[in-house]
């Protein structure tokens, strides 16, 4: 039995005096698909940020057996430069993640997510749905083994949502996925575990 990719026990996070997370236990096994739900303000984003490595917990224990090069994190913000084109953004990330055959991979992803024609346009000119699709390209660019997705469906249009459904179904077996959403029904068939934050 392989060790779980994420193991958290008694996780808590405090910002000064404000407590955002408290006593969270989480285990995500390799190849698993865990869905996190909960009302706004319950700490979903904070939990995902901690798992992705962007924040440190203030209590509890956390073990993540994926390094930065193996984690793909989708945030509320697309994390792309609005004044650069999709191609330039992905090229930058491609270099930073040291991807082999960068151009081919970028081209393939842009096509898959229907952004090939807009690849030279500034991201500022994209619609919200297109920007979110670009963010997904960014996340999948380096073929991460662990995907941490914070409300991935939130900013997607219908076409984008379908693309994502297909992607997640594809990735589900080979990768480990931890995602938060307000529509758990959509990903229910894929889920191997659920976490509800109060």
């Amino acid at each position: 039995m392989l060790a779980p990719v994420i193991r958290a026990h008694g996780l808590g996070k405090r910002f000064g005096d404000k407590r955002v997370l408290r006593g969270v236990d989480l285990e995500v096994e390799r190849g698993g698909f865990v869905v996190v739900t909960g009302p706004n303000g319950s700490g979903k984003t904070t939990l995902l940020r901690i798992c992705a490595g962007l924040a440190l917990p203030t209590e509890g224990e956390l073990e993540v057996s994926a390094g930065r090069a193996e984690i793909g994190y989708l945030a509320h913000d697309p994390l792309v430069y609005r004044e650069l084109s999709a191609l330039e953004n992905l090229d930058l990330y491609g270099r930073l993640y040291r991807i082999h055959e960068r151009r081919e991979r970028i081209g393939m992803l842009l096509e898959r997510f229907g952004l090939w024609d807009a690849r030279h346009d500034r991201v500022a000119s994209y619609s919200r749905g297109m920007t979110q699709r670009l963010a997904l390209c960014r996340v999948l660019l380096h073929e991460p083994s662990l995907l941490v997705l914070d409300e991935p469906y939130a900013a997607l249009d219908a076409a984008g949502a379908e693309l994502l459904d297909a992607q997640l179904a594809d990735l589900r077996r080979e990768r480990t996925v931890l995602l938060s959403t307000h529509e758990p029904a959509r990903v229910e068939p894929l889920a191997t575990g659920r976490l509800v934050l109060a």
Binding site: I71, V80, E83, L84, Y97
Partner: protein, 212 residues
Amino acid sequence: MSYVRDVGALARKDLLLELRARDTLPAMLLFVVATFVVFHFALPGSPSRLAASGLLWVSILFTALLGLGRAFVPEREQRVLDGLVLAPCDRSAIWLGKSVATLAFLVAAEAVALPVFALFFHPLNGATVLGVALADLGICAVGTFLGAMAVATRARELLLPLLFLPLAIPIVVGGVGASAAGSPGRYLGFLALYDLLFALVCWASFEYVVTE
């Protein structure tokens, strides 16, 4: 070495952003020339060589501040910094890449400013130019670093001059000394020492500025 390539990729990104926006460099150019004109009126009569070198350094410092304030704005406004921090590259590369790009802007602005200064006030000697070059390194290293800190605060760019000026005082001492002193060697050496020490501190601690 992949570190150098990361720095290159990041610096290239900043130069590309400036090429698109074309706002920082023209602003710096206009600002520095306007400052010279203001100084001409602020110091009636022909300023002495010593006074003129002083105002050269003040102008450079404040022009640099203008550019430095904008340095991390794209990362902050679009929260892209998270994306860069997530990448497997060394976090100090983010600082170094940004410093290199800012240095390019500062040098470009000075390429115009120095001849204009020589035209308006006093001709420049080699020691001054060398001093400016050394000072630029320190200004960009420390200024970019502090810019990243300032941008994380509520006060944002307002805080940068407050954080930067006390640290810039030794640079001014070195620079004015190099311009005006009989033996500029000591001052140039001091500037080099400043650059070395602070670049080291910046390089070693940038990790903590962008992570928890």
